[in-house]
């Protein structure tokens, strides 16, 4: 596929929303790739974190919203701690999740999780997963 870039495509309302929710300027990114290099789960992602930043600069927000990447991200903050430009990449990731979740979208249905033994499962796991993945 190819991107038809123009002024309107780059500055759309969704990308404004991302900047507002995350309070990060995606245009600070100069694509050094450090976020992806250090990401512990990048091999499970369909779009790498630096590509997320690039797409966000293009305004191609919907593609990111539909990706698996934003749900694979476990907010370990490695990218944020190492970004040479001080971008909190994990906040950008959270913004994409938030846009989905605020539309009552849920990545996981509580009754369809991979829990085998509820007694053995700690509350910290249940609560954090539900907070991150249910709208």
């Amino acid at each position: 596929m190819f991107y038809k870039l123009n002024n309107k495509a780059i500055k759309n309302s969704l990308s404004e929303q991302v900047q507002e929710i995350s309070a990060q300027n995606v245009f600070d990114c100069y694509q050094c790739g450090n976020c992806s290099s250090g990401c512990p789960v990048v091999d499970y992602m369909d779009i790498s974190p630096n590509q997320v930043m690039r797409l966000a600069q293009f305004g191609a927000i919907q593609e990111i919203l539909d990706s698996e990447t934003i749900w694979i991200c476990s907010t370990c903050l490695q990218c944020s701690s190492r970004c040479p430009k001080g971008i909190d990449v994990s906040k950008v990731m959270e913004a994409f999740r938030a846009i989905n979740l605020r539309k009552r979208f849920s990545k996981v249905e509580p009754n369809k999780t991979q829990i085998q033994n509820i007694k053995e499962t700690p509350p910290i796991l249940l609560v954090s997963a539900m907070r991150k993945m249910t709208g």
Binding site: I21, P40, S74, T75, Q78, K91, K107, I115, I124, K132
Partner: protein
């Protein structure tokens, strides 16, 4: 001395041995962990969104409750509670607008949130207040010949503004293990994410992460892993069943909470109830090293 203490959800459930060992160890050190009343869940994960204050209210209400009970500090054991309470507090405190909105919203509370309360991790207390040198003198059962890998995970060291030590090369846990008489082993994956809540949704991610972490520690010849986060502890310990299936030849390795080892080193007897909450039984190792 009394230390106001915030337990968090998991320390009252699957990680009750974490709490139990902490209380007992602190008693030996002459400090009482006093559980605050009426606490609620901190929300576990700190909300990274900049525009939704509601997600920080639980944390702020806990701080308000503590203040109400006359405390000006709170000690946590769980890395996640430490991180979430601290970051929520900083997020609200640093912005007058946020502060006003939150204060206005909580108008029916008995007192007003005045920001004047500090959140510490037990490691802060052990290192800076009680001091490692003092603890060292009280070690009666040194963990000799135990080769331990400190596992920091994410939330003790990130974001860097809230790190309890250097965020790339911390040594606070290793230093702690050394004063207990153990050998602290450095291994490259000590700051890598365990997969966290992916265990619920994408278990294969967590299984692989935990395998890599444990394998890295084992390559460095660790006998066991030491952590302070109930989620990390759960993943690293309980996912070993799955790791065994996925990675042929993987041999189990016990996962401890740092307080269990502290209590043991200070001369407290190892309790059977603690063992029950471990997936990989630590008793053979402890017996082998003649620590119990």
């Amino acid at each position: 001395m009394n230390l106001p203490y915030y337990p968090g959800c998991t320390l009252k459930a699957n990680a009750s041995h974490f709490e139990d060992s902490a209380i007992k160890a602190m008693e030996i050190l002459g400090h009482q962990l006093v559980e605050m009343k009426d606490w609620v869940c901190c929300g576990t994960v700190f909300s990274q969104t900049d525009d939704d204050l509601m997600l920080h209210l639980a944390s702020i209400r806990n701080l308000l409750r503590a203040k109400e009970q006359g405390f000006d500090e709170l000690v946590t054991l769980c890395s996640m509670c430490y991180n979430t309470l601290n970051r929520s507090k900083a997020f609200i405190d640093s912005d007058p607008d946020n502060l006003k909105k939150v204060t206005d919203f909580m108008y029916r509370e008995n007192i007003e949130y005045d920001q004047d309360i500090q959140v510490y991790h037990l490691f802060n207390i052990l290192k800076d207040r009680i001091k490692y040198e003092t603890i060292e003198k009280l070690v009666h059962n040194p963990l000799k010949s135990l080769r331990l890998g400190a596992y920091y995970g994410c939330l003790l060291v990130r974001p860097k503004e809230f790190a309890i030590d250097d965020f790339e090369e911390p040594t606070i846990i290793e230093d702690f293990l050394r004063i207990l008489g153990a050998e602290a082993i450095d291994y490259p994956y000590k700051l890598e994410c365990c997969g966290a809540y992916q265990t619920l949704t994408q278990k294969d991610v967590s299984v692989k992460r935990c395998y890599e972490i444990l394998n890295s520690a084992k390559k460095a010849n660790c006998d066991a892993i030491v952590t302070s986060c109930p989620l990390c502890a759960y993943n690293l310990d309980f996912l070993q069943k799955e790791i065994e299936k996925e990675y042929v030849g993987f041999v189990n390795i016990p996962v401890f909470y740092f307080t269990e080892l502290l209590a043991l080193a200070l001369g407290h007897t190892w309790e059977a109830s603690w063992s029950e909450l471990h997936a990989v039984d630590p008793l053979p190792l402890l017996k082998d090293k003649q620590l119990i």
